[in-house]
């Protein structure tokens, strides 16, 4: 008998926009489903729909016919993530079946739950905020036990750059919070911003492990520039303080993703660009080692 296990869950978050959350989340999912032979389920929880649009747009800007048809069917059958939330916070019991009308198949192993515009109004529409905390846990439970979809090894969440009800729900249940930072003050500021308040916000749930890495690092002679290294040293210091003062399990992954032009087309061109594969493999190695500790 096959043993059904819930997927390992990783949430990519930084309250500063533009640090590369979406691209990194997509690339990691593509990497482990393509090179690691894992089944990956990717969630776009950002109402801005950047990931959804990037995945479903061709380079020329037109929607893939396949996704367009799927999306129409999904909405018609009321199988969007917003409808799932409505079902969860509405009537007692969580009457929402999980199948391929809810989950879109990008490839055989890489599956996707897209965002919808309705998420913009989620904060206004959902009245039972406390109940909302358990939504991601319970929808993952449904996915895990569903016979209609495969067992997923990993669930990746692209979170919005703010503390919304959905990010609240993800952070309360995930195994790992992944924080990309950039070599600039505002992006690095996102680290203490999250660490300072996380415990307070998601109590009584335990704090997940937190991994931080440098994204869009400026390269110089095979290493980071001094400016990038300065900001990275500040990140390390803040993480050390968080570990020492609050006992948070924080790890700084010394596997930067360098700033190169090709990464901008990583999602729309359909795969991790060749020159980035090793960087992302190194990052993923650091993530899994930390998850297994």
């Amino acid at each position: 008998m096959n043993e059904t296990r819930p997927p390992k869950t990783i949430a990519t978050i930084n309250f500063k926009g533009g640090v590369g959350k979406t691209t990194v989340t997509w690339c990691l999912g593509d990497l482990i489903s393509t090179y690691g032979n894992s089944n990956v389920l990717l969630f776009d929880l950002d109402a801005q729909m950047s990931l959804t649009q990037a995945i479903t747009l061709n380079e020329d800007g037109s929607l893939f016919r396949k996704f367009s048809d799927w999306s129409t069917r999904s909405e018609k059958k009321e199988k969007t993530i917003f409808k799932a939330i409505e079902a969860y916070t509405g009537k007692p019991g969580f009457d929402f079946g999980v199948n391929y009308d809810f989950i879109y198949q990008i490839t055989d192993r890489y599956h996707f739950v897209p965002s919808v515009e309705d998420l913009y109004w989620l904060e206004l529409d959902v009245f039972d905020r406390e109940k909302m905390q358990g939504f991601i846990r319970d929808i993952l439970g449904k996915i895990t036990w569903s016979k209609n979809v495969p067992d997923y090894h990993y669930a990746l969440f692209d979170c919005p750059p703010s503390f919304t009800l959905l990010s609240y729900s993800v952070l309360s249940v995930c195994d790992l919070i992944l924080i990309p930072v950039n070599p600039d003050f505002y992006a690095v500021k996102g680290v203490p911003l999250i660490l300072n308040t996380l415990q307070l916000r998601i109590e009584p749930f335990p704090i997940p492990k937190i991994a931080v890495f440098m994204n869009k690092a400026k390269p110089y002679a095979g290493n980071m520039t001094k400016e990038s290294r300065f900001y990275w040293s500040q990140v390390e210091r803040v993480c050390d303080q968080a570990a020492a003062k609050a006992g948070l399990k924080v790890k700084c992954l010394d596997t930067p993703i360098y700033d190169r032009v090709a990464i901008k087309r990583a999602v729309t061109s359909g795969g991790v660009p060749a020159e980035f594969v090793n960087d992302f493999k190194n990052l993923w190695k650091g993530i899994t080692e930390f998850l297994d500790e």
């Binding site: 003050f185 690095v188 680290v191 660490l195 300072n196 307070l200 900001y231 500040q234």
Partner: protein
């Protein structure tokens, strides 16, 4: 109705004429400068003419910090600590203890510039900015 703006073709023609005039002016000025230089060379045969040589000589006399990256990092952390407790006057006092070359090396170490030809004041401003940033990047348990 008259079009008060010139057509793209006309605009290109006008710009080309202006560039041609500018080129002629530059050639005239360059020729005049060349003539002046030749006259000066005749009048002062021993005068060093190449600015670059002067510059290299100046650089070779410039002192270089003897501090390594670890030492500079320790100085930076010390600056952050003192500024946190004593404000800008403490920063100024600590900076005052450092030589020009150490401040420039410190500015380079924290990524303000990759050139060691920074002035003391510019290097100090850069280090102050980094110290302020470091002070704002703190974990505070809520």
């Amino acid at each position: 109705m008259n079009n008060e703006f010139s057509e793209p073709g006309e605009e290109i023609k006008r710009v080309a004429e202006e560039i041609s005039l500018l080129r002629r002016d530059i050639q005239t000025a360059s020729a005049a400068l060349g003539r002046i230089e030749r006259r000066l060379k005749v009048a002062f045969p021993n005068f060093p003419t190449k600015k670059k040589e002067l510059h290299e000589k100046k650089n070779s006399t410039k002192l270089v910090s003897s501090k390594n990256a670890e030492e500079l990092k320790a100085i930076f952390n010390d600056l952050v600590f003192h500024t946190q407790n004593g404000g800008d006057s403490a920063f100024a006092a600590k900076i005052g203890e450092l030589s020009d070359e150490d401040i420039v090396a410190l500015a380079m170490e924290v990524g303000i510039s990759s050139r060691n030809r920074l002035s003391r004041s510019k290097a100090t401003d850069g280090v102050r900015k980094r110290v302020q940033e470091a002070m704002q990047l703190q974990f505070e348990k809520k």
